[in-house]
């Protein structure tokens, strides 16, 4: 695949604050790429550096093997969908969508045809003359998308485009965006703080903390094989348990809290080797089993909190030295529900444990 956007060791500081602190990324052509991180992690700044609204303090951005140094936003092969959509209030839908086209020397009829096509693409056919103020949030979103896509940029930049929409509409727009990206084949770079949005939509995700990329991986790897505790607890939930390495062959032999002696595949161990390690396990990899069942690796505990989510129920369990162990269990008929204070027995899927050096 062709590398379309290359970010090379980019730093950006505002006064004493280092918003972007040495980021290097390669984004391939045609990818749906997400920059994920908590607010203030520098993801939006990075996007604005690619768009040209900010200039890097040091480092460079390349698009299509061309350095973007000194190139103004209006001359870059990028277009942006802004967080608040930035729809021009003095123009109607059609004028908004055609805004960038009017800077090009193509005849009006052709431009008008393109506008109609773009509006159809985002599902707004027939709203050409609607005033920008009469649009709902979702419609503004679509106008902003049409306005950017109509210029056929090499890269479409999306700055938290869905954060202002309600949950239902957001989910709908997520799948529409995904389909749209496949249909037009343009590289999308999405900034989001929503883990699930990043996981469901992207081909690749870069997780950022404090101006640095903590991990860059496919959504599946990011969830199943996070390389650090920070990433693991940012993407979904994870319970951490202390352990100590007691031996090594093809697997790592670990003496851990509550689960006792376990073997961990070396491909699931991250960080420099040290004697003390931290084990992590996702809530859905632990199941509650009947008190009567007898098998290896059973742990008993006491429920201290229950939260019902519809498709799943999350239990916080205290067991032994671990204050809170999170369990997520699928809700279905026949599956008993437990209440706070109940003594239960747990079985962990130990193959799914991952380890980080402490």
């Amino acid at each position: 695949m062709v590398k379309l956007v290359q970010v090379e060791n980019v730093f950006k500081s505002f006064g004493d604050v280092n918003a972007v602190n040495g980021v290097s990324l390669d984004i391939e052509e045609g990818q749906f790429y997400s920059l994920l991180g908590p607010s203030g992690c520098g993801k939006t700044t990075l996007l604005r550096l690619i768009a040209g609204f900010e200039k890097p303090t040091s480092g460079q951005v390349f698009i299509d093997n061309t350095s973007m140094e000194g190139i103004e936003p209006n001359l870059r092969p990028t277009n942006m969908v802004f967080q608040n959509y930035a729809i021009f209030p003095h123009l109607n839908v059609e004028e908004n969508v055609a805004y960038g086209l009017r800077n090009k020397r193509e005849n009006r009829n052709k431009q008008n045809k393109l506008v109609d096509e773009a509006l159809e693409l985002v599902g707004l056919s027939g709203l050409n003359k609607r005033s920008a103020n009469a649009l709902s949030g979702g419609q503004k979103q679509r106008v902003a998308l049409a306005r950017a896509l109509i210029l056929k940029p090499k890269v479409l930049l999306l700055d938290e485009p869905l954060s202002a929409l309600d949950k239902k509409l957001r989910e709908q727009m997520q799948s529409e965006l995904r389909h749209l990206q496949r249909a037009v084949g343009i590289t999308f770079i999405l900034v989001t703080h929503d883990q699930y949005e990043a996981l469901t939509m992207s081909d690749r995700v870069a997780v950022m903390f404090d101006g640095k990329v903590a991990q860059e991986a496919s959504p599946r790897d990011l969830y199943e094989l996070p390389t650090s505790q920070k990433v693991a607890s940012f993407i979904g939930e994870m319970t951490f348990i202390e352990g100590e390495i007691i031996g090594e062959n093809k697997n790592l032999k670990v003496q851990s809290e509550i689960f006792g002696q376990i073997n961990i595949d070396k491909s699931r161990v991250f960080g420099q080797s040290s004697k003390k390690i931290i084990l992590g396990i996702r809530p859905e990899k632990i199941t509650i089993v009947p008190k009567t069942s007898r098998s290896k690796n059973l742990v008993s505990g006491k429920i201290i909190d229950v939260s019902y989510f519809g498709e799943t129920t999350n239990y916080k369990v205290s067991c032994g030295t671990i204050e809170t162990l999170t369990i997520s269990s699928q809700n279905s008929v026949g599956q008993p529900s437990y209440s706070v204070g109940k003594e239960i027995q747990l079985k962990a899927d130990l193959d799914n444990i991952i380890a980080f050096s402490a």
């Binding site: 609204f53 209006n74 990028t78 277009n79 942006m80 802004f82 930035a86 209030p89 003095h90």
Partner: protein, 255 residues
């Protein structure tokens, strides 16, 4: 009161209260009043034009480059108000006069060989003095409308291919038109009726309708005619303002 008075007649010392339109006929047919009306409109429209033209860049600068010193800039703009309006107008006499600051300076630079006379005691002097006097009133509404422009719209226009000049004419100017219209009205309406400034710096060629109204009320002792002139100028100003507002209706609808 004024309106009623304009339909009466002054009979030496008493008011004749029979209804008549003679005052209005006189106001609209006598060449002197026509001249004064048209001169007043010419002066105040020119003043409005130049004030807005000069105020816009200042408001633009404060809004876009004022950073965290916007309040300071706005404060500095109010400094001329610390002295009285009268005093400021008098100062223009000192600046524009035959032996005034400006002429002496230009003579000293040898840019002119004799003092300029077209800058004092005529309409030009009134225009210059009024433009200066009213500038702050134009800066504020334009500043406010510029402040209200969402900065992401400016980024969007750059992102969609506009250079700085296109951006100004396609986004900034249309979105700040409500401020420009407001500023124009704020300047135009009061300057039509100004009489201190023309009296001080206008000479005889720079007199405006308000000076005549004052003369009719006092020296000429013809209050009904003065009232008719006042009502007429009110109607004319209102008419022009309404036409102006309608003309800019597109920009004034609420975003």
């Amino acid at each position: 009161m004024m309106f009623l008075l304009s339909f009466w007649t002054q009979d030496y010392l008493v008011l004749n209260k029979t209804f008549t339109l003679n005052n209005y006929i006189e106001a609209f047919t006598q060449p002197v009043y026509q001249l004064l009306f048209s001169r007043s409109l010419y002066i105040s429209l020119t003043v409005t034009f130049f004030t807005v033209l000069l105020a816009y860049p200042m408001a633009y600068f404060i809004s876009f480059y004022g950073g965290n010193r916007k309040a300071l800039w706005l404060f500095l703009i109010t400094i001329p108000f610390w002295t009285s309006y009268l005093l400021r107008m008098f100062l223009w006499k000192v600046i524009l006069g035959y032996n005034g600051v400006l002429n002496s300076f230009l003579l000293w630079l040898e840019m002119i060989s004799e003092p300029l006379t077209f800058i004092l005691y005529n309409s030009n002097a009134v225009i210059i003095a009024l433009t200066h006097g009213w500038a702050p009133f134009a800066i504020l509404p334009i500043f406010v409308s510029l402040e209200k422009i969402d900065r992401s719209l400016l980024e969007a226009s750059r992102d969609l291919g506009d250079g700085p000049i296109k951006q100004f004419f396609r986004v900034i100017l249309p979105l700040s038109m409500p401020g420009v219209v407001g500023a124009s009205l704020i300047i135009f309406i009061p300057t039509v009726g100004d009489y201190i400034t023309p009296k001080l710096v206008g000479g005889t060629d720079g007199l405006m309708i308000a000076n005549m109204i004052q003369v009719q009320f006092s020296k000429a002792n013809n209050a009904p005619l003065a009232a008719a002139l006042s009502v007429s100028s009110l109607v004319i100003v209102a008419f022009i303002s309404i036409v102006f507002v309608l003309f800019n209706k597109k920009y004034l609808r609420r975003y």
